[in-house]
């Protein structure tokens, strides 16, 4: 099974997210290293703030694009880890070891596997 651990950092979206303090970055590197050494880390990425991104709202088959920053945005995704785990509990245990800052939130979500889909959907994927 695969799980995505989604980091929702406790920083304002308009702020500059570029890391300045080496200490937390080093702690996070050690954590990533731990995941690698345990053979569970498949991929990870950190994201630029939403303020530099864009949002697309779909309606009537058309997309309306809004550039950041977004006034109402509170919970922005800061990055993710993709890990392999045997259970949700294992993924939660790994997430709990993250050296996250006060107020940070990590959401743990299972990745869909082909076998999770009903046969007709699998057939549609295979055409």
């Amino acid at each position: 099974m695969r799980f995505m651990m989604i980091m929702i950092p406790n920083v304002p979206d308009e702020a500059d997210w570029t890391p300045r303090d080496p200490e937390p970055v080093a702690a996070m590197s050690r954590y990533n290293e731990e995941l690698t050494k345990a053979g569970v880390l498949l991929a990870l990425d950190g994201l630029h703030p939403g303020a530099k991104g864009a949002r697309l709202a779909f309606s009537g088959g058309r997309a309306t694009v809004t550039d950041g920053p977004f006034a109402e945005a509170k919970e922005m995704i800061g990055g993710y880890w993709l890990i392999q785990a045997k259970s949700k509990e294992e993924a939660v245990e790994w997430a709990s070891r993250c050296p996250a800052a006060d107020g940070d939130v990590i959401e743990v979500r299972q990745v869909f596997e082909m076998s999770d889909f009903p046969p007709e959907v699998q057939a549609a994927v295979a055409q």
């Binding site: 050494k37 053979g39 569970v40 991929a43 392999q84 509990e89 082909m114």
Partner: protein, 432 residues
């Protein structure tokens, strides 16, 4: 509700166990110098955790908690149990020598290094050549994978008693032969490493292709083998064959979704929908192969197989595969790890690169080998090549033989279907 909460707690503790158990057992094995005893002590600590954590909550550092608990158990046991007298004396001596090895070491860097070495030692122990292959597999899954005997039994379709006995006997053998808990010496390193890699790949293959019966895939075993391989690749990053094996498994696992059709039937590599290959695993596999190649030297059997798998992974279709390179890689593989199966694959690659007649020529030389006489893939491949030469009646006969020889019901169904299609071709010859 209460029961549900208890189950939830247990699952959380099981998760901690899965993450911590191998390191825990490795650390204990270094102290007590016995894998079996170390595993029992770790299990005891788990029992204590299952009693206490539901009330107290999971401690901040569960690994250290388990280790301390297990060490206390070790001391109790050594004091009480006279049958462990010998161990006790050895341990007492050890403690005198090192001024209390039971104390936690202080330097973080050295702890990490030691933990890594202990884990690597444990891998070498569980995969020691004094043990049979099935004992090595069972012990590795139990001790390094943290799997229960029940899980191992289900994965290998044997009874739980059988697995439990295999593990008990394996532990006893290790104790009796007094295999030292240390990294192998230089002169035996490559043989010992080969034994570890063999076990990891056996686990992977058990998941990748069921050897008998209906079940085609057991993705859990593949994931477990991959996890073990990746751990090993971190511990022995300078060993090209370790990286080669990881690369091979990542690339093979990338095809898991594509190699089974809607009816659960196997789909041959050439017929697979490549858009269903897992690009993430392909990328990881290619990266591991690159790391192996960067180490220099000639590639070993796993790295060569990974290079072959990479050839498939890079090709947009079966026709666009670099078959020349493939034939060369198989020839290299045949030189360092000659086997009828490699020769068979080489014949396929040669047929694709230089035409079916060239492949058939290699196969005909092979057909005489007694080891291949009962191997269903030989007539299956022969049938394919004959069909490509338009010799459909002979092709059909070969497939019938292949269908007779295979144990896998899914595979048999596929062979029979192909034979039927060729029977039709034989009756409706196309104009050249």
């Amino acid at each position: 509700m209460q029961a549900g909460a208890a189950t939830q707690e247990h699952r959380a503790i099981e998760a901690v166990w899965r993450i911590e158990s191998a390191t825990l057992i490795a650390g204990l094995a270094r102290i007590v110098r016995d894998v079996g005893l170390a595993e029992e002590l770790a299990q005891d600590a788990l029992v204590v955790a299952l009693e206490r954590w539901p009330q107290s909550g999971v401690p901040d550092n569960p690994g250290a908690w388990l280790m301390t608990t297990a060490k206390h158990r070790a001391i109790d046991l050594l004091r009480r149990n006279s049958t462990l007298q010998r161990k006790h004396q050895e341990l007492a001596r050890e403690l005198e020598l090192h001024g209390g090895a039971l104390e936690e070491p202080q330097l973080e860097g050295s702890i990490e290094e030691e933990v890594g070495d202990d884990l690597l030692c444990l891998m070498f122990m569980c995969c020691h050549p004094v043990l049979s292959a099935e004992a090595r597999v069972a012990l590795t899954l139990r001790v390094l994978g943290g799997l229960t005997t029940g899980e191992i039994a289900r994965a290998f379709m044997v009874s739980e008693t059988t697995v439990a006995q295999r593990i008990v006997r394996a532990k006893r053998t290790l104790t009796e032969t007094r295999v030292p808990f240390e990294l192998p010496h230089k002169q035996e390193l490559s043989a010992r490493l080969a034994s570890v890699l063999e076990v990891v790949y056996l686990i992977f293959n058990e998941g990748y292709t069921a050897s008998a019966g209906e079940q085609w895939l057991r993705a859990d075993l593949c994931e477990e083998a991959l996890r073990l391989g990746r751990i090993l690749a971190e511990l022995a990053a300078q060993e090209s064959e370790v990286l080669g094996l990881v690369a091979l498994m990542e690339i093979q696992a990338s095809r898991l979704n594509a190699r089974v059709g809607p009816e659960g039937e196997p789909v041959l590599l050439a017929d697979q929908d490549r858009s269903r290959w897992d690009r993430l695993l392909v990328r990881r596999g290619l990266a591991a192969l690159e790391r192996a190649e960067r180490l220099g030297g000639t590639l070993g059997p796993y790295a060569l197989q990974a290079a072959i798998a990479a050839c498939h992974a890079r090709a947009s279709s079966a026709e666009n595969t670099d078959w020349m390179r493939m034939a060369a890689l198989y020839e290299a593989l045949a030189q360092i790890a000659p086997s009828p199966v490699v020769e068979l694959n080489r014949a396929v690659a040669v047929a694709s690169a230089f035409g079916p007649a060239a492949g058939l020529e290699l196969l005909d030389a092979l057909g005489e080998q007694p080891t291949l006489r009962s191997y269903h893939l030989l007539p299956s491949v022969r049938g394919d090549l004959l069909a490509r030469l338009g010799r459909f009646e002979e092709a059909q006969a070969e497939l019938a033989r292949a269908a007779e020889l295979t144990n896998n019901t899914q595979e048999r169904r596929l062979l029979v279907a192909r034979a039927r299609a060729w029977a039709w071709e034989a009756g409706h010859p196309r104009r050249a």
